[in-house]
Symmetry: C2
Subunit: 233 residues, 2 copies
């Protein structure tokens, strides 16, 4: 059995690819997900499916209630903006804007890593597709890593070098899909849509669906996900 690694897993395309990459490096997988009032329980169901598919050693879902800090600015019920500029008036789908999100998620990963005696944390941040988010940039990750090494007893006493692995950080969506497909990832398990139907079908038109579909198209691969709307060529 390999060394333990904590992998942040949302049930989405990116973090599922990260699980595959961590497994390829020989790590024993500990998957960490968060229930923070997501727009859809489907995301956590996908995370559970993915964890089973990868036979992770342990899958922990932590509940954190960020809505306590004030509803509308966080995971409150607001409309999902659509790429054409329109909004789904009246749909009131919660959008998950979570301040300091990666910092909170990584902090819990550091805690679990310390308990496990692990020096390896994986996160599927991407600086290309999400360049608007400050906490997806390489300089943020480096600063977090440096802080975390100073925070823990292991880092101080044993000189252990905690590492935040970000294998996707400079990859395009097509690169990610190609890499995961080469490692046998079943992307039918993953969940990407911001605005799924009540039956759980991806809408096909939200920003996340469009990004995913373009990624498959550019990778020259078939997206195994079922969409509500007919796929455009």
């Amino acid at each position: 059995m390999g060394l333990p690694a904590v992998v942040l897993s949302s049930g989405g395309l990116d973090s599922t690819t990260v699980l595959a990459l961590a497994r390829r490096e020989g790590f024993e997988l500990y998957a960490l997900s968060f229930d923070y009032g997501q727009r859809h329980r489907l995301e956590l169901e996908a995370a559970a499916r993915v964890a089973r598919a990868f036979a992770v050693r342990e899958h922990v879902v932590l509940t954190i209630d960020l809505r306590r800090f004030g509803g509308s600015a966080l995971t409150g019920d607001i409309e999902v903006p659509r790429p054409d500029g329109s909004a789904r008036i009246g749909s009131r789908i919660p959008v998950t804007y979570v301040p300091a999100r990666n910092t909170i998620f990584l902090s819990f990963a550091v805690a679990w890593a310390e308990v496990l005696g692990s020096n390896d944390i994986f996160i599927g941040v991407n600086a290309l597709d999400y360049s608007g988010y400050p906490d997806c940039r390489p300089e943020y990750i480096e600063a977090f890593e440096r802080m975390a090494r100073l925070a823990t007893r292991a880092g101080v006493e044993e000189g252990a070098a905690l590492k935040i692995h970000t294998p996707l950080i400079q990859m395009t969506k097509a690169d990610i899909i190609r890499a995961g497909t080469a490692l046998g990832v079943d992307y039918a398990l993953t969940h990407s849509c911001y605005d799924p139907t009540p039956e759980g079908l991806a809408c096909g038109g939200c920003e996340s669906c469009l990004l995913r579909r373009r990624g498959f198209r550019e990778a020259g691969l078939e997206d195994p996900l079922k969409y509500k709307e007919p796929k455009t060529p």
Copy 2:
């Protein structure tokens, strides 16, 4: 009304002094406490009393379940070691060892600060009395601050300088008590004991009680707290 500041508040002597220092600097106080399976609910009751006494603008208590990462290493039921080397056999009081504790607490404070539009976070870490904890050292705090400035939109777009204030970091317990007393802190509100009686009286003999009592003695001040054991001169 002053600028908003998020103050980590445990209901203990140190963080209550920090509230007084932040108030003196003119900040509007937002107190943040955590329910993470503490040894005693008394700690959270003290935090609520203190928040009322300071008339903070808002007091948020977040529940985080770190026991999910494995019971005994964290806030499990283990015995409280006593300074004389004995242990209270059979008392099975939970000891709160929380890995990456300050990192997790500060991460939530950063999230709240971002929602409030605040650049000021206060934490009562102390490098003298708790020199064994890596996450109480100035170099850790500086690394966290640097990371947090890179993590948030405000830090990137507006160049706002998020500041982690650690007013106690180089103070002795006696210094802290003197400073708080000068600012009118009622230390009878605060809770320090690791091993209180069922009625809520401080034991007087655990490491935290001894540190507190020595602090008052060195400051030449009377500790207003009631103890189970008669105070030693």
